[in-house]
Point group: C2
């Protein structure tokens, strides 16, 4: 479906359920609440549904928001590359034909929906939502705050390679609506508790280097999380740390999910394809940021991901 | 002088010396080399002059750049709020009447030049240069890289409160010229050596809290700099760290310049005016980021700045 088709779909239908992905981030939630608020502003009924629940740091996206009561007629997935990323609690939407429209920017999108608007050149799915909505009517400040959050978070506040002239142009338009973008930036990119800061320092001070210091590995253990009294979601700044070290081409974060189960986040410079490396290990993602899960002893897990990276180096 | 006056001044004259401030940052250098390259593109003669020399991290701004030989006829200061910020090596330009035109965005500008184009609402002086030049002709990729660097560095890569819709709009236009903005962002905001990363961790792990944890102080001692073998300029990320801690309203960095002499950098949230606090101590700057120098024992110096902050709290 093209962008005009999506506009018609949104105008001609009603009673929307908007799905966002598990471990929700600023982009999926910004898309979800931005689209939901816009549709409600059109007099439509719409809800945002997430299989994991929404972390408190995104509370500002849901201010003055409450679920509406209606008989669901259309299901839209935003920023969800694969039906399984809806999570177990939303299994019913994982069935073939359950999702009417998927709006996404992941090149790995599995086309699970009846219709898909996919733009893998967009740094954030919220950029696609902006393009759709800006052609349909006025974007209010409330909608703008959601879409800005999506664009800013997925582009690392306009720092990452996936930023482009469009990301800045849309941010410029969204800021013109009068949103408090600085408060959003503070919440998304700056503020952390002393405990989180201390946990980050502890983790990074144990950073391990491999393959002539071209690969750096940070480990987030359950023990560290317990010791500093932090939530795993509060340590999401860690994956970007390794690549800030000169000479590092691949930054690996190994996060202990349960004893013997580790979630791997891989960030790469333009010399390595993170998506390919993680696909080989049963995961996936973007070309510079991808993930997978590996089971085993910590040292085995690290050896496995480092060995896989070395294959591509 | 208004913006059209500046355009006429640049068109009608020749043989420009462009002055940038001591301890040069991305904005003053981006303005200087951007303007210089644009003028040379017009067939004019122009040089950039700095009283301190240019740190290696900005080498990319001066690629293919060499000084031209000519008899100086016009002197332009960019991003220099006060003549004394030219530094001792450029004393001759500090004389009254020595600077023909100053282009600046510091509200504290002392109007030392014969003519001044001042826009304190611009987050970066490079935004003013962009406005001038975009009305005069095509902005080449080389000029665009300089101006992008100025805008990105002074706005904390579009994160700080001084960012606005114009900053994003100009960034969008500059990126459209095809600059490698990601490589600039990597150099400016991400890459550091292992030594620098270790020095930063060591400094931050000793962060001191005052006034019910509302003021946080990081100390950069000559001893730390020596121990980790880093350049003081490599630790310029430190001043922004304190404000990332929840509840901190004022982040102070105390940098030992010589035994008994400390340079203070103050960053504040919107509840405190950094410029006012530092002015009281003989310094100055912006409303959220300012500096001053204090002499004495380290503990006295810390007490002095904390006491001054407490007056305004």
């Amino acid at each position: 479906m093209d962008i005009n088709g999506v506009r018609r779909f949104l105008t001609e239908n009603d009673n929307y359920t908007i799905l966002t992905h598990i471990s929700p981030d600023g982009d999926t939630l910004g898309c979800g609440f931005g689209l939901c608020r816009f549709l409600r502003g059109m007099g439509k009924k719409a809800n945002v549904v997430n299989g994991d629940g929404i972390p408190h740091r995104y509370d500002f996206l849901c201010e003055d928001y409450s679920l509406q009561d209606y008989e669901e007629k259309c299901v839209i997935a935003v920023d969800i590359a694969d039906a399984k990323l809806m999570g177990d609690r939303l299994k019913k939407y994982q069935q073939p034909g359950a999702v009417d429209l998927c709006i996404d920017h992941h090149v790995s999108n599995t086309k699970y929906a009846k219709e898909t608007l996919l733009d893998p050149t967009a740094g954030a799915a919220a950029m696609i939502i902006y393009e759709i909505l800006s052609g349909m009517g006025t974007i209010t400040r409330e909608v703008a705050a959601c879409l800005y959050t999506g664009i800013a978070t997925d582009t690392g506040c306009f720092r990452f390679e996936n930023t482009d002239y469009r990301a800045h142009l849309y941010a410029s338009k969204l800021i013109e609506t009068g949103i408090d973008f600085y408060s959003i930036n503070r919440k998304m990119f700056e503020l952390k508790s002393r405990n989180v800061a201390a946990a980050e320092r502890a983790i990074v001070s144990e950073m391990k280097f491999f393959l002539n210091d071209k690969v750096a590995v940070n480990v987030i253990s359950l023990e560290t999380i317990k010791k500093y009294g932090v939530e795993p979601a509060e340590l999401e700044g860690i994956p970007s740390v390794a690549l800030t070290i000169e000479g590092v081409l691949a930054g690996v974060t190994v996060k202990e999910k349960a004893v013997g189960t580790y979630k791997i986040s891989l960030r790469t410079t333009d010399e390595l394809n993170a998506s390919q490396i993680c696909s080989d290990l049963g995961g996936g993602g973007h070309i510079r940021a991808a993930g997978c899960e590996i089971k085993g002893e910590l040292s085995e897990v690290i050896n496995k991901i480092v060995a896989k990276i070395s294959e591509y180096m």
